[in-house]
Amino acid sequence: MALLKKKGRREAEIPTSSMADIAFLLLIFFLVTTTIDVDTGIGMVLPPKLEDDVEPPPIKERNVLKILVNEQGMVLVEDQPSAVQLIRQEVVTHVMNEGADPRYAEAATKALVSIKTARETPYDAYVSVLDEVWMAYYEMWDNEARKLGYPDYKAYLAVIDANDSENEIKDRIKAAISIAEPDAA
Protein backbone atom coordinates (compact mmCIF):
# COMPACT_ATOMS: atom_id res chain seq x y z
CA MET A 1 0.00 0.00 0.00
CA ALA A 2 2.74 2.36 0.93
CA LEU A 3 4.51 1.43 -2.29
CA LEU A 4 1.52 2.45 -4.43
CA LYS A 5 1.31 5.88 -2.90
CA LYS A 6 4.93 6.54 -3.64
CA LYS A 7 4.48 5.60 -7.28
CA GLY A 8 1.54 7.98 -7.79
CA ARG A 9 3.56 10.91 -6.54
CA ARG A 10 6.45 10.26 -8.89
CA GLU A 11 4.25 10.44 -12.00
CA ALA A 12 3.03 13.92 -11.21
CA GLU A 13 5.90 15.58 -13.11
CA ILE A 14 5.70 16.07 -16.90
CA PRO A 15 8.41 14.35 -18.92
CA THR A 16 10.48 17.08 -20.55
CA SER A 17 12.97 14.94 -22.38
CA SER A 18 10.93 15.02 -25.62
CA MET A 19 10.49 18.78 -25.47
CA ALA A 20 13.62 19.33 -27.55
CA ASP A 21 12.36 16.93 -30.21
CA ILE A 22 9.02 18.69 -30.48
CA ALA A 23 10.76 22.04 -30.72
CA PHE A 24 13.08 20.65 -33.37
CA LEU A 25 10.17 19.48 -35.47
CA LEU A 26 8.54 22.91 -35.34
CA LEU A 27 11.88 24.54 -36.06
CA ILE A 28 12.43 22.42 -39.15
CA PHE A 29 8.93 23.23 -40.39
CA PHE A 30 9.51 26.96 -40.14
CA LEU A 31 13.02 26.65 -41.56
CA VAL A 32 11.60 25.02 -44.65
CA THR A 33 8.69 27.42 -45.12
CA THR A 34 10.68 30.61 -44.49
CA THR A 35 11.82 32.60 -47.45
CA ILE A 36 14.07 35.46 -46.48
CA ASP A 37 14.13 37.04 -49.89
CA VAL A 38 14.66 40.74 -50.21
CA ASP A 39 12.85 42.19 -53.17
CA THR A 40 15.31 43.44 -55.72
CA GLY A 41 14.66 45.27 -58.92
CA ILE A 42 15.39 48.29 -61.03
CA GLY A 43 13.83 51.34 -59.41
CA MET A 44 12.25 54.02 -61.54
CA VAL A 45 10.09 57.05 -60.97
CA LEU A 46 7.42 57.62 -63.58
CA PRO A 47 6.82 61.18 -64.79
CA PRO A 48 3.68 62.75 -63.39
CA LYS A 49 0.62 62.90 -65.58
CA LEU A 50 0.69 65.81 -68.01
CA GLU A 51 -2.24 68.17 -67.92
CA ASP A 52 -3.83 68.60 -71.33
CA ASP A 53 -3.29 72.34 -71.56
CA VAL A 54 0.34 72.31 -70.39
CA GLU A 55 3.00 71.85 -73.02
CA PRO A 56 5.91 69.58 -72.07
CA PRO A 57 9.08 71.57 -71.41
CA PRO A 58 11.25 72.10 -74.49
CA ILE A 59 14.36 69.94 -74.67
CA LYS A 60 17.25 70.46 -77.02
CA GLU A 61 17.67 67.63 -79.48
CA ARG A 62 21.39 67.24 -78.79
CA ASN A 63 20.85 66.68 -75.06
CA VAL A 64 18.77 63.59 -75.66
CA LEU A 65 20.33 60.23 -76.34
CA LYS A 66 17.67 58.28 -78.14
CA ILE A 67 17.66 54.52 -77.72
CA LEU A 68 15.15 52.50 -79.67
CA VAL A 69 14.43 48.83 -79.05
CA ASN A 70 12.46 47.09 -81.76
CA GLU A 71 10.27 44.00 -81.89
CA GLN A 72 13.21 41.64 -82.31
CA GLY A 73 15.05 43.20 -79.39
CA MET A 74 17.51 44.97 -81.70
CA VAL A 75 18.87 48.30 -80.61
CA LEU A 76 19.16 51.63 -82.39
CA VAL A 77 21.22 54.32 -80.66
CA GLU A 78 20.80 57.77 -82.24
CA ASP A 79 19.45 56.06 -85.36
CA GLN A 80 22.58 53.92 -85.66
CA PRO A 81 22.34 50.14 -85.23
CA SER A 82 24.11 49.16 -82.04
CA ALA A 83 24.41 46.36 -79.52
CA VAL A 84 23.20 46.16 -75.94
CA GLN A 85 26.77 45.85 -74.65
CA LEU A 86 27.79 49.13 -76.36
CA ILE A 87 25.06 51.21 -74.72
CA ARG A 88 26.93 51.68 -71.46
CA GLN A 89 29.91 53.36 -73.13
CA GLU A 90 27.62 55.41 -75.35
CA VAL A 91 25.68 56.77 -72.36
CA VAL A 92 28.91 57.66 -70.53
CA THR A 93 30.25 59.56 -73.57
CA HIS A 94 26.92 61.30 -73.96
CA VAL A 95 26.58 62.48 -70.38
CA MET A 96 30.26 63.31 -69.72
CA ASN A 97 30.65 65.15 -73.03
CA GLU A 98 30.45 68.64 -71.46
CA GLY A 99 29.83 70.29 -74.80
CA ALA A 100 32.92 68.94 -76.53
CA ASP A 101 31.25 66.92 -79.27
CA PRO A 102 28.23 68.57 -80.95
CA ARG A 103 26.50 65.19 -81.29
CA TYR A 104 26.41 64.64 -77.53
CA ALA A 105 25.03 66.56 -74.55
CA GLU A 106 25.95 70.12 -73.62
CA ALA A 107 26.34 69.40 -69.92
CA ALA A 108 25.85 66.49 -67.55
CA THR A 109 22.99 68.29 -65.80
CA LYS A 110 21.11 68.67 -69.07
CA ALA A 111 21.75 65.20 -70.45
CA LEU A 112 18.79 62.92 -70.94
CA VAL A 113 18.47 59.33 -72.03
CA SER A 114 15.29 58.31 -73.78
CA ILE A 115 14.34 54.67 -74.19
CA LYS A 116 11.66 53.93 -76.70
CA THR A 117 10.18 50.53 -77.42
CA ALA A 118 7.66 49.12 -79.81
CA ARG A 119 4.52 47.58 -78.37
CA GLU A 120 5.75 44.14 -79.38
CA THR A 121 9.21 44.49 -77.85
CA PRO A 122 9.90 41.61 -75.46
CA TYR A 123 10.16 42.74 -71.84
CA ASP A 124 13.58 41.21 -71.21
CA ALA A 125 15.11 43.18 -74.10
CA TYR A 126 13.79 46.36 -72.56
CA VAL A 127 15.08 45.44 -69.09
CA SER A 128 18.55 44.61 -70.39
CA VAL A 129 18.76 48.00 -72.13
CA LEU A 130 17.47 49.83 -69.06
CA ASP A 131 19.94 47.90 -66.94
CA GLU A 132 22.86 48.98 -69.14
CA VAL A 133 21.79 52.62 -68.90
CA TRP A 134 21.60 52.40 -65.12
CA MET A 135 24.99 50.68 -64.97
CA ALA A 136 26.41 53.58 -66.99
CA TYR A 137 25.12 56.02 -64.38
CA TYR A 138 26.49 53.88 -61.55
CA GLU A 139 29.84 53.84 -63.32
CA MET A 140 29.87 57.63 -63.60
CA TRP A 141 28.84 58.06 -59.98
CA ASP A 142 31.61 55.70 -58.93
CA ASN A 143 34.10 57.79 -60.90
CA GLU A 144 32.90 61.02 -59.33
CA ALA A 145 33.11 59.48 -55.88
CA ARG A 146 36.67 58.39 -56.57
CA LYS A 147 37.55 61.95 -57.56
CA LEU A 148 36.28 63.11 -54.18
CA GLY A 149 38.46 60.54 -52.46
CA TYR A 150 36.01 57.77 -51.68
CA PRO A 151 36.55 54.16 -52.78
CA ASP A 152 33.18 54.08 -54.58
CA TYR A 153 29.73 55.65 -54.74
CA LYS A 154 28.35 53.35 -52.05
CA ALA A 155 30.94 54.62 -49.59
CA TYR A 156 30.07 58.19 -50.53
CA LEU A 157 26.36 57.51 -49.98
CA ALA A 158 27.06 56.03 -46.56
CA VAL A 159 29.03 59.13 -45.56
CA ILE A 160 26.43 61.65 -46.71
CA ASP A 161 23.65 59.62 -45.12
CA ALA A 162 25.50 59.77 -41.83
CA ASN A 163 26.14 63.52 -42.12
CA ASP A 164 22.73 64.29 -43.60
CA SER A 165 24.38 66.42 -46.26
CA GLU A 166 23.52 67.06 -49.89
CA ASN A 167 24.34 64.48 -52.52
CA GLU A 168 26.70 66.53 -54.68
CA ILE A 169 27.33 63.72 -57.14
CA LYS A 170 23.64 63.28 -57.90
CA ASP A 171 23.30 67.05 -58.28
CA ARG A 172 26.00 67.02 -60.91
CA ILE A 173 24.99 63.85 -62.73
CA LYS A 174 21.28 63.28 -62.45
CA ALA A 175 19.98 59.98 -63.78
CA ALA A 176 17.46 61.29 -66.27
CA ILE A 177 15.92 58.31 -68.05
CA SER A 178 12.70 58.77 -69.90
CA ILE A 179 10.48 55.98 -71.13
CA ALA A 180 8.92 57.17 -74.35
CA GLU A 181 5.54 56.11 -75.61
CA PRO A 182 5.63 53.96 -78.73
CA ASP A 183 4.45 55.54 -81.95
CA ALA A 184 0.79 55.04 -82.58
CA ALA A 185 0.58 52.36 -85.21
Binding site: T33, G41, T121
Partner: protein, 150 residues
Protein backbone atom coordinates in the same frame (compact mmCIF):
# COMPACT_ATOMS: atom_id res chain seq x y z
CA UNK B 1 47.71 13.12 -7.64
CA UNK B 2 47.27 11.68 -11.10
CA UNK B 3 44.45 9.47 -9.93
CA UNK B 4 42.64 12.42 -8.47
CA UNK B 5 42.68 14.29 -11.77
CA UNK B 6 41.35 11.36 -13.71
CA UNK B 7 38.34 11.07 -11.48
CA UNK B 8 37.40 14.70 -11.96
CA UNK B 9 37.56 14.47 -15.74
CA UNK B 10 35.32 11.45 -15.79
CA UNK B 11 32.51 13.22 -13.99
CA UNK B 12 32.42 16.09 -16.50
CA UNK B 13 32.12 13.94 -19.59
CA UNK B 14 28.53 14.63 -20.75
CA UNK B 15 27.30 17.90 -22.22
CA UNK B 16 24.48 19.50 -20.24
CA UNK B 17 21.31 19.20 -22.34
CA UNK B 18 18.95 20.95 -20.00
CA UNK B 19 19.15 24.25 -21.90
CA UNK B 20 18.80 22.62 -25.32
CA UNK B 21 15.02 23.15 -25.55
CA UNK B 22 15.48 26.81 -24.70
CA UNK B 23 18.01 27.29 -27.47
CA UNK B 24 15.78 25.52 -29.96
CA UNK B 25 12.78 27.54 -28.87
CA UNK B 26 14.73 30.75 -29.41
CA UNK B 27 15.55 29.70 -32.98
CA UNK B 28 11.97 28.57 -33.47
CA UNK B 29 10.57 31.92 -32.37
CA UNK B 30 12.99 33.73 -34.69
CA UNK B 31 11.84 31.75 -37.71
CA UNK B 32 8.19 32.01 -36.71
CA UNK B 33 8.45 35.77 -36.59
CA UNK B 34 10.36 36.10 -39.84
CA UNK B 35 8.16 33.73 -41.83
CA UNK B 36 5.75 35.27 -44.25
CA UNK B 37 3.40 32.66 -45.59
CA UNK B 38 2.48 33.41 -49.18
CA UNK B 39 -0.96 34.97 -49.05
CA UNK B 40 -1.70 35.32 -52.74
CA UNK B 41 -1.82 32.71 -55.45
CA UNK B 42 -0.28 34.04 -58.61
CA UNK B 43 -2.43 33.16 -61.58
CA UNK B 44 0.01 34.33 -64.23
CA UNK B 45 3.48 33.04 -64.95
CA UNK B 46 6.16 35.47 -63.86
CA UNK B 47 9.63 34.43 -64.79
CA UNK B 48 11.65 37.47 -63.79
CA UNK B 49 14.44 38.91 -65.95
CA UNK B 50 17.93 39.27 -64.54
CA UNK B 51 19.75 42.56 -64.18
CA UNK B 52 22.85 44.14 -62.64
CA UNK B 53 21.76 47.59 -61.51
CA UNK B 54 19.55 46.39 -58.69
CA UNK B 55 18.16 48.24 -55.73
CA UNK B 56 16.72 46.58 -52.68
CA UNK B 57 13.31 47.37 -51.27
CA UNK B 58 13.77 47.25 -47.54
CA UNK B 59 10.33 48.34 -46.40
CA UNK B 60 8.05 45.54 -47.45
CA UNK B 61 4.89 47.21 -46.18
CA UNK B 62 5.25 49.97 -48.74
CA UNK B 63 5.25 47.54 -51.63
CA UNK B 64 2.31 46.53 -53.72
CA UNK B 65 2.74 43.97 -56.48
CA UNK B 66 1.41 43.88 -59.99
CA UNK B 67 1.95 40.65 -61.88
CA UNK B 68 2.01 40.67 -65.67
CA UNK B 69 2.51 37.51 -67.67
CA UNK B 70 0.83 34.71 -69.60
CA UNK B 71 -2.08 33.17 -67.73
CA UNK B 72 -1.61 29.73 -66.23
CA UNK B 73 -4.20 27.36 -67.57
CA UNK B 74 -5.00 23.75 -66.69
CA UNK B 75 -2.48 21.12 -67.63
CA UNK B 76 0.64 23.29 -67.78
CA UNK B 77 -0.65 25.29 -70.71
CA UNK B 78 -0.34 29.04 -70.81
CA UNK B 79 -2.80 31.51 -72.25
CA UNK B 80 -2.79 35.13 -73.25
CA UNK B 81 -1.21 37.88 -71.19
CA UNK B 82 -2.99 38.78 -68.00
CA UNK B 83 -2.55 41.40 -65.30
CA UNK B 84 -2.99 40.47 -61.67
CA UNK B 85 -3.17 42.73 -58.63
CA UNK B 86 -3.36 41.01 -55.23
CA UNK B 87 -5.61 37.98 -55.62
CA UNK B 88 -7.55 38.70 -58.75
CA UNK B 89 -6.88 39.05 -62.43
CA UNK B 90 -7.71 42.48 -63.77
CA UNK B 91 -9.78 41.94 -66.89
CA UNK B 92 -9.76 45.55 -68.05
CA UNK B 93 -6.47 47.44 -67.79
CA UNK B 94 -8.48 50.62 -67.22
CA UNK B 95 -9.41 49.32 -63.78
CA UNK B 96 -5.77 49.42 -62.64
CA UNK B 97 -6.14 53.16 -62.14
CA UNK B 98 -8.88 52.97 -59.51
CA UNK B 99 -7.36 50.00 -57.70
CA UNK B 100 -3.95 51.63 -57.43
CA UNK B 101 -5.42 55.01 -56.51
CA UNK B 102 -7.18 53.42 -53.53
CA UNK B 103 -3.93 51.81 -52.46
CA UNK B 104 -2.12 55.12 -52.74
CA UNK B 105 -4.65 56.82 -50.46
CA UNK B 106 -4.02 54.14 -47.85
CA UNK B 107 -0.23 54.25 -48.23
CA UNK B 108 1.05 57.56 -49.67
CA UNK B 109 4.61 56.25 -49.97
CA UNK B 110 3.54 53.30 -52.09
CA UNK B 111 6.10 51.52 -54.25
CA UNK B 112 4.68 49.43 -57.06
CA UNK B 113 6.74 46.38 -57.85
CA UNK B 114 6.12 45.14 -61.36
CA UNK B 115 6.68 41.42 -61.62
CA UNK B 116 6.67 40.94 -65.34
CA UNK B 117 7.39 37.74 -67.25
CA UNK B 118 10.40 37.93 -69.56
CA UNK B 119 8.36 36.91 -72.59
CA UNK B 120 5.69 39.58 -72.12
CA UNK B 121 5.39 42.34 -74.65
CA UNK B 122 6.08 45.94 -73.74
CA UNK B 123 2.64 47.07 -74.90
CA UNK B 124 0.92 45.68 -71.81
CA UNK B 125 3.64 47.01 -69.50
CA UNK B 126 3.34 50.49 -71.01
CA UNK B 127 -0.44 50.40 -70.69
CA UNK B 128 -0.14 49.52 -67.02
CA UNK B 129 2.48 52.25 -66.53
CA UNK B 130 0.16 54.78 -68.14
CA UNK B 131 -2.54 53.74 -65.68
CA UNK B 132 -0.09 54.12 -62.81
CA UNK B 133 0.70 57.65 -63.94
CA UNK B 134 -3.02 58.42 -63.97
CA UNK B 135 -3.36 57.00 -60.47
CA UNK B 136 -0.34 58.97 -59.26
CA UNK B 137 1.64 55.94 -58.09
CA UNK B 138 4.90 57.03 -59.64
CA UNK B 139 7.47 55.01 -57.71
CA UNK B 140 7.86 51.72 -59.51
CA UNK B 141 10.33 48.89 -59.46
CA UNK B 142 10.95 46.41 -62.25
CA UNK B 143 11.42 43.31 -60.19
CA UNK B 144 14.41 41.32 -61.40
CA UNK B 145 16.86 38.75 -60.17
CA UNK B 146 20.57 39.18 -59.73
CA UNK B 147 22.49 38.31 -62.85
CA UNK B 148 24.45 35.12 -62.52
CA UNK B 149 27.97 35.99 -63.66
CA UNK B 150 28.98 33.80 -66.55
Amino acid sequence: MAGHFQKKMKTKEDIPTASLPDIIFMLLIFFMVSTVLRETTVQVRTQLPSAEALTKIDQKRLVSYIYIGPRKLDGNRIGETGVQIDDALVEDVGNVRTIMYRKLVEQPKLIVSLKVDTTSEMGMVLDVQQELREAGTLRINYSSKREIPS
